[in-house]
Amino acid sequence: MLTETNSSRSIRIPQDLSDGEVRAFLANVDRVLDNRPPGIVLECVALEQVVSSHINLLWQAYLACKESGTGIKLKNASPGLVRILRVLDLYDFFIEGTGTSKIRLADYVPEEVTARSDSFRCDFPATAEAVDDALTGFLAFLDKLGLPEILKFELRTVFYETAMNIVDHSGLTSDCTIGFEARSNPMKIDLVFRDQGKPFDLSRGKVDFDFKAAARRGQKRGFGIAMIRRLTNEVAYERMAKDTNVLTLTRNWGI
């Protein structure tokens, strides 16, 4: 069984804990670390059932990375694995403790997503009420794609937060229009927003925004952009001709 993914810095953790698999995994870690990458990703998608030996394996990989000054991050960690790491107080070592980015919602790839190629377009006035109507249409499109509920919830949140951000902060009046297009294929979905309001590069929002610190400060606003960043894999912003802002938010279905 191959234990390495197609990325040279991403190593798959085997479900099978035979001596050969464990040796191959640890050898892969050493080989990747020999190239002094800034960080490595442990691909957990094969972990259907987590036992203590898997945790030991993760820990050995962590120690090897620590020794070489390399960050480590988990990908596709199931909620169950995350829970176990939290219970063991190990979660922060893999998520926050080594300087790599935190696991985002986008890292939890739902099982067996088989979305087909399809698209949805609508234009709507820059008002909160119109956002609600457009959202209804977008949700119907997501239903057609047959996505898992949790993924629909994520995309609904991304749509709502982005559209409301444009309505609230672009300076557009209710007679102005926001253009929206969703394009899905078997690999990903792109959500594209177009407007002619004030330029604003949402891609500058921090993925690692600290919500807990914000709570301690009593912060009331400014969570939307951070949520969008954590719920998407890529955010791209362009200022096009005729003062048009084009914001493209990408959510990958899988690896």
């Binding site: 939290r86 919602l105 609600d132 949140t157 709502y160 409301m164 912060q219 949520m227």
Partner: protein, 116 residues
């Protein structure tokens, strides 16, 4: 989305339950902040936010909880979430809030948490 009203239910001398209904978003997040602040000013130390039936939680909804929870905690109280739908819990987990916020499975568990 249709604005849903925050409903209140007294549970004990210092515990009140607030239920946002189907959505907690820009349309009613301010009402939630108002309800929490008023409850705190009325002497409630613990606020149980019953999320049964919640279909959507926006950043404004998250903000309504985050901006007030320390107010309660400073006075020895807390905001306790219960009946949190899986998708909402998933988002709270990804925002690193599932352990910062006090979350219990049922209202009964939430009230027990308020009683220490």
């Amino acid at each position: 989305m249709e604005k849903t009203t925050i409903t209140k239910r007294n549970i004990a001398d210092d515990v009140i339950a607030l239920c946002p209904g189907k959505t907690l978003d820009n349309s009613n997040a301010h009402d939630m902040v108002d309800a929490i602040v008023r409850a705190e000013q009325s002497g409630y130390r613990f606020i149980v936010v019953d999320m049964a039936g919640l279909e959507f939680l926006s950043s404004a909804g998250v903000g309504s909880i985050l901006s007030t929870v320390e107010l309660l905690r400073e006075k020895g109280g807390d905001i306790v979430l219960c009946n949190v739908p899986t998708s909402v819990f998933h988002v709270l987990e990804v925002l690193d809030l599932s352990e910062y916020l006090t979350i219990r499975t049922t209202e009964e568990d939430a009230v027990a948490a308020c009683n220490g």
